[in-house]
Symmetry: C2
Subunit: 248 residues, 2 copies
């Protein structure tokens, strides 16, 4: 690729692109993205993170990133560094006063620039935090990156799994393969006595995976520390099982 520009969309690119998706907001998709990225980096991988979730601004906050990336004269965008992760938040390129309904179409059109004009460097993985559902940006990611693999995040509730099913269908239409389904907030383990409870029910993730011809590759517990709304910038790395699977 041209000096400084990435080649992630080229068929011969060695970069493994992983789109982290969900049917609806609040299931912990951004949390999973950030933790998986940190886990992969901990295993020695060079990892880029493209925060394409323009409705939730959690990735920069979780990674303690403030301010904007540097854009060089020729339009090349330098990712921001967070403990070795190379991060671009698409939301930071749209003014806060831009009406929410415009952002989808605007950023979907600009998607190529975020994929091509960012100096991702010699990353081995590019993790993309997709917006929830099947809107403009999610659809464009799906069409633009047919070789990317999808990690679908859901919670145990049937309602969450139902909307996630539509995302699985969208992926199928572009020929994208699912890495699998991650069931977040699957259970809670009492810190005192170890008793486990499935607070949000069960079965939704299994059903979703089954109908998408895939499988549940991880069940993450409800973790009090994961909800601390801080910009400490140090994600809790709990995604070891996920990273092993993601390397397939």
């Amino acid at each position: 690729p041209e000096a400084g520009r990435s080649g992630v969309t080229r068929p011969d690119s060695p970069v493994r692109v992983l789109i982290v998706a969900s049917g609806k907001g609040g299931v912990g998709k951004s949390t999973v993205t950030v933790n998986l990225a940190a886990a992969l980096a901990g295993l020695g991988q060079r990892v880029g993170v493209l925060d394409a979730d323009i409705y939730g601004f959690s990735v920069p906050r979780m990674l303690g990133l403030h301010g904007n990336p540097t854009v060089l004269g020729e339009g090349i965008i330098l990712p921001m560094d967070s403990s070795g992760l190379r991060v671009i938040s698409m939301g930071s390129f749209v003014g806060e006063d831009t009406p929410v309904i415009w952002r989808g179409p605007m950023l979907a059109k600009a998607l190529d620039q975020f994929l091509e004009d960012v100096a991702w460097g010699d990353i081995g993985y590019l993790l993309i935090d997709s917006p929830p559902g099947t809107g403009d940006v999610a659809l464009s990611l799906s069409q633009r990156l047919p070789r990317a693999r999808i990690l679908l995040v859901t919670t145990p509730q049937a309602a969450a799994a139902r909307v996630a099913g539509r995302v699985a269908q969208m992926a199928e239409r572009t020929g994208q393969r699912l890495v699998g389904v991650v069931e977040n907030m699957a259970f809670y383990e009492c810190p005192d006595c170890g008793h486990r409870t499935e607070i949000f029910g069960q079965g939704g993730a299994e059903e979703l995976a089954r109908s998408a011809g895939s499988e549940v590759i991880g069940r993450l517990p409800l973790e009090p520390q994961l909800s601390v709304d801080s910009d400490a910038g140090t994600p809790i790395v709990r995604a070891q099982p996920l990273s092993r699977t993601a390397k397939h």
Copy 2:
């Protein structure tokens, strides 16, 4: 009021209107609405429930309601019965194939009919499950029912409290008073050893209430049974403290 038509919007109406609101979806607003309605009915009140949350279809499902209300020749709408609750789901009046983005404006215009042309009868309370946030329908409810009181539902996370703050501001502009803030999923109590954990952090609800000049009137625990995605139709009544407060 005209025979069959309600007079809930009239200044001399004896009906206590309570709008159950939230900043974003998934915090348990519909669950709180349904449980509070059941609690009030259990205390001998006659209660109407207007499900105005046209993006979430949980109220009919939680109450085991299928099918549509009867509309009489003169345009009078008969509420459906669920264990004594008189229920109208606005979503059931819009075809499932109606694009989601049209529903808000369409139903916001039709709001008067749902308030006036429904034969609510001699109810003492009308609980309105508002859509989350400050969109068309939420705004119309706010403008059309200045004497209604607001029950704001949130979870402990700062992000949820932040968006709920905007709803509090919208209420303030129309002169609506807040009953208070309900913090849902505030803690989890281990069924074995009784150990309590604030899984989703804490402080968000307090902060929200404080800046809205109100108070946290209830903290509800994470309840495994509340997540069973069933249409059993029998809400778990856990809202006794809420109903006492709502009677103020």
